[in-house]
């Protein structure tokens, strides 16, 4: 799983049935500096994430199928958590 930011919303009428009736958001992985890396990905939202939220993103098909409680399909990126805080043991600080 990766830490990412929700950076946008996607409206797509024509889509594969596996994506039907799912909330689709744009997420960008955090770069080394903690900022969005400029490479948006489409993710299914299972946790009601919103604009600018720092989230936990799963990018793996088997896990996605489990989270969505269904057989495997052409889906691999799912937002599985909204991050409240990350405590870093290296720097002693926490970020949110």
């Amino acid at each position: 799983m990766k830490l990412a930011r929700v950076t946008g919303n996607v409206i797509a009428t024509v889509k594969h049935p596996a994506l039907a009736a799912q909330r689709l958001l744009l997420v960008e992985d955090e770069g080394a500096d903690g900022r969005p890396n400029g490479k948006p990905r489409l993710a299914l939202d299972r946790v009601d994430a919103g604009e600018g939220d720092r989230v936990l993103v799963l990018d793996e098909g088997n896990g996605a199928a489990q989270v969505l409680s269904r057989a495997r399909g052409p889906v691999r990126t799912v937002i599985v958590g909204v991050v409240d805080e990350v405590e870093s043991f290296a720097s002693g600080g926490s970020t949110s």
Binding site: R5, V6, T7, G8, N9, V10, I11, A12, T13, V14, K15, H16, A18, L19, L24, L26, E28, P36, G38, K39, P40, R41, L42, A43, E51, G52, G61, A64, R72, G73, P74, V75, R76, T77
Partner: protein, 90 residues
């Protein structure tokens, strides 16, 4: 799942049986600003995308799951046509 623009279609009369009747399109992945980002690739098309259109595609094993016969060697498949992106950043 990543954002791309359709560059064109790939015509291949002889292909593995699992892909018979399937469209293959040539894609250019793009970044947040819609600028080319990364290498071009060929993907299965499940949504009847057209050249120039913005799409989302999935990479990896999940791509093969996009068509009925999931035992096929696809490593990329288009799964959505983008109507509109609402970007909240900047």
């Amino acid at each position: 799942m990543q954002h791309a623009r359709v560059l064109g279609s790939v015509v291949a009369t002889r292909k593995i049986p699992a892909w018979h009747g399937q469209r293959l399109l040539w894609l250019q992945p793009v970044d947040r600003a819609g600028k080319p980002s990364g290498r071009k690739l060929v993907a299965l098309d499940t949504v009847s995308a057209a050249p120039g259109q913005a799409v989302f595609f999935v990479r990896g094993r999940e791509a093969a799951e996009a068509i009925g016969d999931s035992f096929n060697p696809a490593d990329a498949a288009i799964v959505a046509l983008v109507d509109r992106l609402e970007s909240w950043s900047e």
